[in-house]
Amino acid sequence: MTNVIKVVRLQLLNRTTYVYMPLLILAGALLLALLVFALIPTSEAKYGFGAAGAPLWSFLVVGVQALTLTFPFSQALSITRRDFHLGTLLTAALTSGMLAAAFAAIGVIERATHGWGMNGYVTLPSLGGDAPGTAFLAYFVIAMLFFVSGYFCAAINKRWGALALIAALVGLTLVLAVVILLVFRAGVAGEVEAWLVAQGALGLALWGLALLAVLGLGSLAVIRRMVP
């Protein structure tokens, strides 16, 4: 068993955080959505994808905790930062996969039961509700992005402090705002939207993977000189 796999086991010591909580949140949100669907007196298609999104926010927190709570102990166990990083991302992938599988399964069930018999859906068709494979990948990428974002932010905070983190986030927001502004200024908003739609769920998911790779490398760079 390589050290990377051992780190997965180390992280999964806290099974509640990684497994039970997200699943519980998903189940709870789903039940809530079903209740709402039952109460709405319409036979038209109803969509409530907030339920599917609920566990994603918990993943942000999980990402933060994966670093803050486990990194210091990993140092005491003489684990290199690289092994810790890879093991933690692998853990993220496993748990994201678990959530994504649950989500894709819900999608299949919903299509099969015509929206739980109430024409109510928590999975969006445009998010691959009609293609479980794409749904799985899309949800997987989004969950990973939430995890790695939390992880990355926690790393910046630990290494350089809260001020640095705020500065980074503010800076990022500004950059995004500027980009959006420029897009509208140049009058290409229409083309950008068309391109995005053309990518489709699968295309966007692949772009998401690319973004994940960048974030993964970025967070490793921060961790490499981090002190427990």
Partner: protein
């Protein structure tokens, strides 16, 4: 001589503070070291640098001849559980030990079980709800059962009562006798650990002020008490590390040994000679305001 850790010109600066100042030393295989000094002398910083948990401002660390940074091959032969070690939130004592077992190839579960029993550690309790002493006991258990070839104990006794500390020292000696390894024990309770140590390294203000065998350090100084004038006459030309006065009586601690005839001569002059223990010697040498050192910290060029 088998050197397992080499530190050269190690310096660590935190802003305006110099936590380590041109530290140089070599640790040998299978020797128990005492890393001694006051709080804030740089003991934890030094141990962090050796295990690549922290990074020097300048200087070099070599463990088994290699740089320890991100070096799994070398790091897995070391173990450093800090004094204020953080554990994953909510993790239970038993699980924390199980994880340590996963990562240390030489882990001895029977030793771990024995220590858990000795310290009465509640395996099912979350670590965050342990008392300070129990927390130390967990760190000690991991540090000892890991059987790492280079093991660091960072003030491991904090919160432990006298009986528990004695248990720790006893188990440590027992296990060391059966499984020799390099052990670095940082402590400011010098009295208690003195008989365990083969060599001592004393840090003061980030500098090495002593690096020698514990036995050489014992008997390095003497205390001479008597009438001030006689004491001052005696102390002239000697390296004085501490002076006290009470009325017309003075007590001076000087470096150097006094043999039989010299003692007799001093006795004739009404001066009393008393021995100085290791703890007293180190306390005197690391007193604030002291500038002279009995042994300049060597930096291997």
């Amino acid at each position: 001589m088998n050197t397992v850790v080499e530190v050269n010109h190690l310096t660590k600066r935190y802003g305006a503070t110099l936590a380590l100042d041109d530290v140089g030393l070599a640790l040998e295989k299978d020797v128990i070291y005492g890393l001694l000094g006051r709080n804030g002398a740089g003991k934890t910083t030094l141990m962090s640098m050796i295990t690549a948990q922290a990074f020097p401002t300048s200087g070099a660390v070599k463990v088994y001849g290699e740089e320890p940074y991100e070096n799994s091959r070398v790091l897995r032969r070391t173990c450093f559980v800090r004094e204020n070690q953080k554990y994953p939130d909510g993790v239970k004592v038993g699980h924390a030990l199980a994880m340590a077992r996963l990562f240390f190839a030489a882990w001895d579960q029977s030793l771990a079980d024995r220590l858990v029993a000795d310290f009465q550690l509640p395996l099912h309790k979350p670590v965050r709800r342990l008392s300070r002493g129990q927390l130390s006991a967990v760190g000690v258990t991991i540090g000892m059962a890991a059987r790492a070839e280079i093991t660091f104990f960072d003030e491991p006794y904090l919160g432990l009562d006298a009986a528990a500390r004695q248990t720790f020292y006893d188990r440590l000696l027992e296990d060391y006798a059966d499984h020799p390894r390099t052990i670095v024990l940082s402590s400011h309770l010098i009295d208690e650990v003195a008989s365990l140590l083969e060599r001592i390294v004393v840090l003061d203000g980030g500098r090495v002020v002593m690096d020698e065998s514990a036995d050489d350090a014992r008997g390095r100084a003497v205390n001479v008490v008597g009438a001030s004038s006689a004491v001052e006459a005696f102390a002239a030309g000697r390296e004085v590390i501490h002076t006290e006065r009470l009325g017309r009586v003075a007590s001076v601690t000087v470096l150097g040994r006094l043999e039989g005839e010299e003692r007799a001569r001093l006795a004739a002059r009404g001066l009393e000679v008393a021995p100085v223990s290791l703890q007293q010697l180190i306390v005197r040498i690391t007193e604030p305001g002291r500038s002279a050192r009995p042994d300049e910290g060597r930096s291997r060029g």
